[in-house]
Symmetry: C2
Subunit: 239 residues, 2 copies
Amino acid sequence: MIRFYAPDIETTAKLPADESAHAVRVLRRRPGDEVEVVDGRGTLYRCRLVTDDHRGAVVEIVGRVPLPKVWKPYITVAVAPTKHLDRMEWLVEKLVEIGVDRIVPLRCARSERKEIKAERLERIAVSAMKQSLKAVMPRIDPMTSLSSFLSETRCTGEECYIGYCDAETPRLLLAKAYTPGADVKILIGPEGDFSPEEVASARAAGYIPVTMGDNRLRTETAALVGCDTIQILNQLDGF
Amino acid sequence: MIRFYAPDIETTAKLPADESAHAVRVLRRRPGDEVEVVDGRGTLYRCRLVTDDHRGAVVEIVGRVPLPKVWKPYITVAVAPTKHLDRMEWLVEKLVEIGVDRIVPLRCARSERKEIKAERLERIAVSAMKQSLKAVMPRIDPMTSLSSFLSETRCTGEECYIGYCDAETPRLLLAKAYTPGADVKILIGPEGDFSPEEVASARAAGYIPVTMGDNRLRTETAALVGCDTIQILNQLDGF
């Protein structure tokens, strides 16, 4: 059954405009029809359509099914959006599939893309969430400068890593550094990598330089492999 | 320095036509200029251009640098190409980046795409190999039926896994099943999954049903996560 996304369903008992139009105009759902709705925070709602208003279809909630995320730690990935938007959009889709909690588009000194619309990434995340039968959406931040992001970080009670390509800098292998079960923040730089000054400020904030292995990876691949490494290590330890 | 791909450089001392045109017409390399060439089998050649023939530029080999693959086991992934070609092309790029030895496009009972041009996938693999500074290309097979692929498999001296979504079938977690260091074959089915008959024949051939975790993944994501799991477990054990 096709699912709809309504983050405010508990308070509004309505589908948002775009989801209403999809349900009513494209899929021709009518009052009385059953629909499944997810709120992006871990609940699946079994609903019955009450009106077929394509700008805001009213629903009656028939049942609630908890569908929490299947991994335990809180995984944040802060990544410089790629020059080509399709690579970043692809990354968001894949991050939703493998499961992360928060995606922060990062503005860095050498970023080729200085702006990105969070709404566009949100739409892709919603679509990936539905397709992968999840009820949990990652939080997607607006474009954030590295310095702002570092200033919010305490690196206490969580593990903080910065992916860095420069072989001159001593780096740990992420797969060996990460402690399964721990909340984690991973920084991934742009195509031209972080600047030495950015690495220094991240280290001062408690971030540990890591590598994903001996393969040279594109920005979006490094972000995905980094998060996948965390997921696999947690699976191995039953988290 | 931009690298060129010439699988037969040792016998021909020439760049292939497309690489010659790129070197001479696009990058305007001239006789006497230095170029780097990879053969796709683990050697980087430092060369000097002798002619600027855009249909087959002659080179003089000045030096040979071994650039073998950085992982030890032989990793084969046989995957049903996705309906949308761009997802399969994306997968090939990512598999080259994270490193696999052989990619087999698989024709299955429920395949939405029954044909695919191996040359098109090869071009993407060549480009990803250059971009990720590798000198090793995975072997890319022509479209192969599952039954043909199974008939070549002995599953002796290697571990054979089939990714399968049906929760009714007992499955191991790939991350827990795989023995680091072992050669491995992984089967990934099409959007509609393998048919029960296909799973039965794979099991009869020695394939063990596995899951990549509790997240529902698209075909191309499952193939990537499967191979990445193998790479990460090998990294952890120093292979």
